[in-house]
């Protein structure tokens, strides 16, 4: 790790100001950034720790949405009664990230802002049609996530919360890459009031919606319908762990299993 200036503001405004004035990086749970710093792969001059900002915390229901504060840790979301009642698939997603240590430190906002192409949370946000709220605006998932590790966040812009519309039913299944246990392919399926949404993580350079599977599930919300869709490997990742063809195949299989989970939880 290189030497770094560490700051811990207590308000969003102060944090935004510090980020703007120092050109520093926001620190949430640190599960990605601190590891990268230890390996000297990241070299922020200033770390602005968001952990002492009360406005970034909390889980509440607002009408037909569940609003989760950006600083909420994975373990907290996984254990939240509110989330488990309204969107059990999201609680399950949070409870399946990393290991216990990661879940006790990592935050939703950190994961979404970092936008690792194999992370779980971005997939949940896209799958549920979540609205990302920042200190400046609110954006739907489609507008928020850009390229790999790239989001719509501007300098000094912080995620404050994400509003998740409560679906009729939803499921999330992650096929783990054996070493990292990140998603080799993860699929979030949600039967929402705006239609069926199927979001995929791990399979490509970024998350995406599997529209062919969405169409199939709109006609028949069954595991068989999802599994029967042949996904094209074009544009998907090939690496040490799996080629694009295998990943494409897994998208259908995991979608089918996510549907089965959705049906099991809310028949």
């Amino acid at each position: 790790m290189y030497e770094v200036d560490y700051r811990r503001p207590t308000s969003i405004e102060a944090a935004a100001h510090l980020l703007a004035s120092t050109g520093g990086r926001p620190l949430a749970g640190g599960q990605t950034l601190v590891s990268a710093m230890k390996l000297r792969l990241a070299q922020p001059g200033t770390l602005v720790d968001l952990g002492a900002i009360p406005e970034l915390r909390g889980i509440r229901r607002e009408g037909d949405t569940i609003v989760i504060g950006a600083s909420m840790r994975h373990a907290e979301v996984a254990a939240s009664e509110e989330v488990n009642r309204a969107i059990p698939a999201l609680a399950r997603l949070a409870g399946g990230i990393g290991d216990r240590q990661v879940r006790n430190m990592g935050t939703m906002g950190g994961s979404v802002a970092n936008y690792d192409p194999a992370a779980c949370y971005p997939c949940g946000v896209l799958g549920l049609g979540g609205m990302v709220r920042t200190n400046r605006r609110a954006m739907p998932a489609e507008a928020f996530f850009r390229g790999m590790y790239e989001t719509a966040l501007e300098e000094g812009e912080l995620i404050t919360a994400i509003a998740f519309p409560i679906p009729r039913r939803a499921g999330y299944i992650k096929f783990k890459q054996e070493a990292s246990r990140f998603a080799l392919v993860g699929v979030f399926v949600a039967d929402t009031h705006g239609g069926v949404r199927v979001a995929v993580t791990g399979a490509g350079a970024g998350i995406f919606r599997a529209t062919a599977i969405e169409r199939a599930l709109s006609a028949s919300f069954t595991p068989e319908a999802a599994k029967a869709v042949k996904v094209s490997p074009e544009g998907l990742s090939s690496d040490l762990h799996a080629d694009a063809e295998y990943r494409a195949h897994l998208v259908s299989v995991m979608a089918g299993r996510a549907v089965a989970q959705a049906l099991e939880v809310a028949p």
């Binding site: 096929f175 070493a179 762990h241 295998y246």
Partner: protein, 775 residues
């Protein structure tokens, strides 16, 4: 014997809790990194980014002037200072000399693999050292590289060492080529397999760790995580520092896993020792995980073309094996010894094979050097014969258990001389297999397979029967025994503890003789000032040092008996001994052992004892696994694993169980997921962290998992009757798992794919077979 007075005694055969566990579990262990002498400096290595390059120039001036930097050291500087290189195997069995570049402690003139240590920076703090290392500038001229066996031996491949034709560093041939050819010509059936044993990382939880300092008497103390301190001192003093051996002391504290990785010196250890010796300050180096993947020895990485000839009844007529073994950049002592000399010893395993024809070649490549890892040569050899036998049975339509039965070496053939001219002292292989089949409920498999099928899973059943060679090629160990006036018996051995619990089991051999509670025995290990010996490798510690400890204790007790007979004025034979007390037979007159010691002018009974076992031990086993494959994903799950292991006398059943279980998990790991991968194009290591290198985890045990022992067939080569136990699991698990997957595929109509199965059996690989390949 369920005598209440024996509680706390814990002699041979009892499940004594490990004496170190309480301390380790409470975080009170003392690993090398926990040793922090005043004025300690930290070492940081700058490593090669290229697989093969000429070092044109190194500029250390900027780095040397940076804050906190004590010294920046290059390979050229060490060569000028007369620092030597790590010794390799001096001679092959046929008298030829291995051809390899010298493995220096810092690269000199050329780098030969990505991650090779090039410059050592020694600084006050780790951060200062890292900052300075980044400021060193090295100019390289890239050279052509090869990382795979195929590329290294291909025509026109770059030659990595002068004189190494096709990059062959060394070779061995065994058997009778002509006679074997006749056997194959007469065979009713020949099975041919291309068998890859992929490169893996030993992956200890504690990384390599070393701290060195000089003492007032001008000697160098090197404290490190190592399994063979005496061997390490020889390598360091005689070959690298080139100083008299008595000027160097090696000490070992707690070690967080060895698995063979820590049996020999690594270049970094030598560089750190030299730095401390010259700076006259303590210098510490703790490898980080990336450094472990880059520059701690890797293991296996062999490719064999293997052929088995059988008659029409399935009796084996001959075995032919052609193996290329990747040695990595530097063909080391063990890097040649393991694949070319040790592995072949168990090539025919538990089977009577009339004739063999082996040719093994060690191949230089631009990768990290190959070294020992749990099993070291035997997993590779046993995997080959077990895959051949499995395929022979399938192809010939003979039941695989029956085929094994027809070929086992029989108990009445013992002692049995193998085609390699090794001698098995004992072995009842068919009996062990029958016990293994019973434990596995082999006959109940079909019912379980039907249940799996109902759930959409493909179930497979796999077996491996095998023998392993244990003992480490050195049969002598030296111990000391001191019965002290303070009521403690202190013993020393040169074997070492790296998590396997040898201190406890050594103490149990002492308890067995002296009849004292276990906590009265203090075991001292890991200090070359206390004595020399061979150390811990090849599953030899209990077998050799345990035998020596038991004999040494008996000898000390005989000495005590003489002294007691003088004290009590009776003949020694008139004394009986129990509960740490000599008593005159038929009377109440007696003297306690420690009271006797207190009466001695030296206040102790002390002896040094050296004894040798008569030869190796040949532990063997039958391992059975059941797997379920998910045809939708290709995921293989181990659902049942059981084994029966003939390991002779068991000193501590709990420790033995831990040894078996842990090694089985490592074997399953290699079978299903582990693989060190270099990119052939760039020569870069692709699996440089635990994010990309899949290691087995404890959840693999969450199935019917049971590893048992048969203790009724004692080894005849040592008086305790013990056999090595630590490596059986890795050896048995690989073929047991792969054969189970092959079986599942065959049952799914994919028998044609079975012979081509290569580890690791990852989900994409199996899905491709299941979804694409036709029978």
């Amino acid at each position: 014997m369920s005598d209440l007075s024996n509680i706390g005694r814990f002699g041979i055969g009892q499940a004594a809790p490990r004496t170190e566990d309480d301390r380790l579990l409470r975080g009170r262990g003392e690993y090398t990194d926990d040793v922090v002498p005043d004025g300690q400096l930290r070492a940081v290595f700058l490593r090669s980014p290229y697989p093969h390059a000429r070092i044109v120039a190194i500029d250390t001036a900027v780095a040397a002037a940076m804050p906190g930097v004590a010294r920046v050291i290059t390979g050229a500087e060490l060569v000028a200072a007369g620092v030597g290189h790590i010794p390799t195997l001096p001679k092959m069995p046929d008298g030829s000399i291995p051809i390899t570049p010298d493995c220096r402690v810092l690269a000199f003139e050329r780098v030969r693999f990505v991650g090779e240590a090039v410059v050592l920076v020694v600084a006050e703090t780790l951060q200062q050292g890292r900052d300075a290392a980044e400021a060193v500038s090295v100019e390289y001229e890239e050279l052509p590289h090869v990382v795979t066996l195929e590329a290294a031996t291909a025509p026109g491949a770059p030659q990595l060492c002068e004189g190494a034709d096709r990059n062959i560093a060394a070779q061995t041939r065994y058997g009778d080529k002509a006679r074997c050819a006749s056997a194959f010509a007469a065979a009713a059936h020949v099975v041919k397999l291309d068998v890859v044993n992929q490169r893996v990382a030993p992956l200890t939880i504690e990384p390599r760790s070393v701290i060195a300092w000089t003492t007032a008497d001008g000697r160098l103390t090197v404290r490190m995580a190592n399994q063979k301190p005496s061997g390490l001192r020889y390598e360091l003093a005689d070959h690298i520092l080139r100083v008299p051996r008595d000027r160097v002391r090696i000490t070992i504290g707690d070690v967080g896993g060895g698995f063979g990785l820590k049996t020999h010196i690594h270049p970094e250890d030598g560089a750190v020792a030299w730095a401390a010796w010259n700076l006259k300050r303590p210098v510490k180096w703790i490898a980080d995980r990336s450094e472990e993947f880059l520059s701690a020895v890797h293991a296996r990485d062999q490719r064999a073309q293997a052929e088995l000839a059988l008659d029409r009844d399935g009796r084996i007529l001959g075995l032919r094996v052609r193996t290329l073994a990747n040695t990595g950049a530097y063909a080391s002592w063990v890097g040649l010894n393991i694949p070319l000399i040790v592995g072949p010893m168990v090539g025919t395993s538990v089977y009577h094979v009339p004739v063999i024809d082996y040719h093994f070649q060690g191949v230089l490549t631009n990768t990290m050097s190959i070294g020992p890892y749990r099993g070291a040569g035997r997993p590779e050899s046993v995997f080959i014969i077990e895959r051949l036998v499995e395929e022979a049975a399938r192809q010939m339509g003979i039941d695989r258990v029956e085929l094994r039965r027809r070929n086992f070496i029989r108990p009445e053939q013992m002692p049995y001389t193998t085609p390699m001219k090794d001698v098995y002292d004992v072995g009842q292989f068919e009996r062990i297999m029958d016990e293994g089949l019973a434990l596995a409920d082999w006959k109940g498999f079909e019912a379980r397979a039907a249940q799996s099928k109902a759930r959409g899973r493909l179930r497979g059943l796999g077996i491996a029967t095998f023998v392993e060679w244990a003992g480490g090629l050195t049969w002598t160990e030296r111990v000391t025994v001191e019965v002290r006036a303070d009521g403690v018996i202190e013993v020393f051995a040169a074997v070492n503890q790296m998590g396997q619990g040898i201190a406890t089991t050594l103490a149990q051999t002492v308890v067995q003789v002296f009849d004292v509670p276990l906590d009265k025995v203090r075991v001292v290990l890991g200090d070359t000032d206390r004595g020399d010996g061979h150390g811990s490798a090849g599953s030899r510690s209990m077998f050799t040092a345990g035998s020596a400890m038991h004999r040494g204790s008996e000898s000390a007790l005989r000495q005590a008996r003489q002294l007691a007979s003088q004290a009590l004025e009776v003949a020694p034979d008139d004394l009986e001994y129990a509960d740490a007390r000599f008593k005159v037979k038929g009377s109440d007159v007696g003297i306690g052992l420690f009271e006797l010691v207190r009466r001695q002018p030296e206040q102790r009974i002390y002896l040094e004892h050296s004894s040798a076992v008569a030869g190796p031990s040949w532990p063997n086993g039958c391992h059975v696994s059941e797997v379920e494959i998910d045809p939708d994903t290709g995921v293989t799950r181990v659902v049942r694993y059981s084994s029966v292991n003939d390991i002779g006398t068991v000193v501590n059943p709990t420790i033995v169980r831990g040894q078996l279980d842990g090694a089985v998990l490592q074997g399953i790991g290699q079978a299903l997921m582990e693989h060190v991968v270099y990119d052939p194009e760039s020569g870069q290591l692709l699996t440089g962290s635990l994010m990309d290198y899949a290691a087995p985890r404890a959840d693999l045990m969450a199935c019917d998992f049971i590893n048992e022992t048969n203790q009724t067939i004692p080894c005849k080569n040592n008086h305790l009757g013990v056999k090595g136990v630590g490596e059986l699991g890795t050896i048995g698990a690989m073929p047991a798992i792969v054969n189970a997957v092959a079986d599942a595929l065959a049952r799914a109509g994919k028998a044609a794919a079975a012979p081509r199965l290569q580890m690791p059996l990852t989900p994409p690989k199996l899905w491709k077979i299941l979804s694409k390949e036709t029978t």
